[in-house]
Amino acid sequence: MSATPVLALRGISKRFGAVQALTDVDLEIHPGEVVALVGDNGAGKSTLVKTISGVHPIDEGAIEWEGETVRINRPNDAQELGVATVYQDLALCDNLDVVANLFLGSELRKASVLDEIAMEKRAKELLDTLSIRIPSVRIPVASLSGGQRQVVAIARALIGDPKVVILDEPTAALGVEQTAQVLDLVERLRERGHGVILISHNMADVRAVADKVAVLRLGRNNGVFDVASTSHEEIIAAITGATDNAVTRRQARTDTKEDAK
């Protein structure tokens, strides 16, 4: 893992009118690293991601890209830097086939005519390297299952060869097998050297693939944990902001029951 993070947020603050959504938030993403961004609803996860993807410009603080301070004011700025975002609600066109969806907005052209053959070839190569299995790259996305659509949406983010991929709840609403496929895909992104930001409410998924867990609470950093050496309870405590609450009490109760057995 290289010393310079590919993306670093330093002291980011963001206000919406009377609401201070983010206060002095720091985050670092290294190449080949999966950082899970967790926190309760309203903790500021989505806002933070939107500042990175250029939907909401930051008010204070600095964004560093490979050590250089940059400004991200529009979605295009983020895309040009190499940040790709996979939104929760997929954003695929049902009526277009897989190839057309993968290249939508960045079609390959030859003398300003669409180069369907080159696109289909690259689409196949990309799907093969990611071990994505779909019936055919020439069927409308409408006929794919939920899991297949999710992996197509993620593959779509990789067409521009981004350095950082942001996944917003990629496994919500997916079945067991499909979740496993998406998690496999996240691991393959890491192997290929992409930095990954994974937003998830599912601790099992987070612990399965993430290297680090960054916890947000009420718009502030509430700790960055190394997944391998941190217990489930510590992360939950950071999310809820207390060591004594309904969750830990229940945890303690069930633990004592198990001990008694």
Partner: protein, 437 residues
């Protein structure tokens, strides 16, 4: 079904390397989804794919072709002149102007919107040309260009109100429908009609025929050769790229069908008694169709139109300028509307207050829908403008020839439109159950 088979491992070579088998405790992963239907090589595979598509609700142009054959047989029995040269030429000429307008409507329908103003815009186009050229003595080509551009401006205005202000397209173009027909009336002033000067370009639009038989046959030959060449080049490039390509049998079959259609039409226009040759209007209509089809299927702009029609939010996030696409499509519809208006003026001998009025709008929209372009956006073909308009004009021509009253003609055209929309809705539902929509 025999075409279900595709055994694991035979299709791609890579997956074993890309997905370490150690992570998968179960049997080795099949490279391709085993439920995939893979088409067999050769004619048999082509046929089985065709029947499967039809059962799955992907009817394509099939209902239109069946409808045309039924129409031809029924009217030919009623009146043996229905398939005569002059009758076919009539259908071709009357289809052209309205068909060009229908091409614009196809683009609007692909966006999932509707343009109700296209008839009034056609009327304004004809009026602009007539007032500038005939009344003010402008050069006729300049007047034609200004007329077409004024259609583009009106269309762009609709697009602006729809895309930027957010007024539903239905309402914007309804306002345009009323407003522009008022403008047309006002421009025509007290005269009521302005006749086309004889020998002018606009008169020639629908009255010029290439009497030389070589024109019709030559165009048919060029069309067939170009079609075959594009298929062959495409399948060779796909083969060299290692992608599945059309089997040669399919290329031959498609070329044969296109060749038969082209040469039969060329023959009927050229040979029988009373034949006047290839109509200029048909040539212009085909040119518009070919260019529009190319734009829709082979350019980024066409892809963006389909994307916006399918899912505007996804298109926006993909970096597509949705507003610009919408305004451009409405401007295109206005442009083709005004161009079609010149054809209508040419047919009726001049610009009148009624050019583009009456049932023009309904026929144009009906043609696009009957031809198979979905009203729900994102699905359709430019060629549906041609197919649908031929259906409508054949019915009108046939009913005229057997002396049916206008009232009955309206009812029958209405019933055909309803049938087309029913087919669209039912086939969409079938596609949904077959998992293709």
């Amino acid at each position: 079904m025999s075409d279900l088979a595709k055994t694991p491992g035979t299709s791609t070579e890579k997956p074993a390397a890309a997905a370490p088998a150690a992570e998968q405790p179960a049997a080795p992963v099949p490279a391709v989804d085993p439920r995939l239907l893979v088409r067999e090589e050769g004619f048999k595979g082509y046929w089985s794919e065709f029947t499967r598509k039809v059962r799955g609700g992907e009817l394509g142009s099939l209902p239109v072709f069946v409808g045309l054959i039924v129409i031809a047989i029924v009217f030919q029995f009623q009146n043996s002149n229905f398939l005569s040269a002059s009758s076919v030429a009539n259908v071709a000429v009357y289809s052209s102007g309205l068909g060009i307008m229908a091409v614009g409507i196809v683009f609007v329908l692909l966006l999932g919107e509707i343009d109700l103003s296209v008839g009034s815009v056609a009327g304004v186009g004809a009026a602009v040309w007539a007032v500038l050229n005939v009344n003010n003595g402008w050069n006729e080509w300049l007047a034609i260009i200004v007329a077409v551009l004024s259609g583009m401006a009106l269309g762009a205005l609709h697009g602006f109100f729809f895309a930027k202000i957010g007024v539903p397209a239905f309402v914007v173009t309804l306002a345009g429908f009323l407003g522009w027909s008022g403008l047309q009336d006002w421009m025509m002033g007290g005269e009521g009609s302005i006749n086309t000067p004889s020998g002018s370009a606009v008169e020639n639009l629908t009255n010029y025929f290439f009497e030389d038989k070589a024109a019709g046959y030559g165009l048919a030959l060029v069309a067939v050769l170009a079609y075959a060449a594009s298929l062959l080049v495409d399948s060779r490039r796909r083969k060299t790229a290692g992608l599945p390509a059309r089997p040669t049998s399919e290329v031959v079959l498609r070329t044969a069908v296109v060749a038969v259609l082209c040469f039969v039409v060329a023959y009927v226009l050229n040979e029988p008694e009373g034949a006047r040759g290839l109509p200029l209007a048909l040539v212009l209509f085909l040119a518009v169709l070919i260019v529009a089809d190319f734009v829709a299927r082979r350019t980024s702009f066409g892809r963006q139109v389909f994307a916006v029609g399918g899912n505007p939010e996804a298109a926006r996030r993909a970096g597509i300028n949705v507003d610009r696409v919408r305004i451009t499509v409405f401007a295109l519809s206005g442009t083709l509307g005004a161009f079609g208006g010149l054809f209508i003026a040419s047919l009726s001998g001049g610009a009148t207050k009624s050019v583009g009025g009456g049932n023009t709008l309904m026929l144009v929209i009906a043609a696009a829908v009957i031809g198979g372009t979905s009203l729900f956006g994102g699905r359709g073909k430019v060629w549906s403008a041609l197919l649908g308009m031929i259906v409508i004009q054949s019915i009108q021509q046939g009913l005229n020839m057997i002396g049916m009253a206008n009232a009955i003609q309206y009812m029958i055209t209405g019933a055909v439109l309803l049938a087309a929309v029913v087919i669209d809705s039912v086939s969409r539902r079938t596609q949904k159950t077959a998992g293709r929509a």
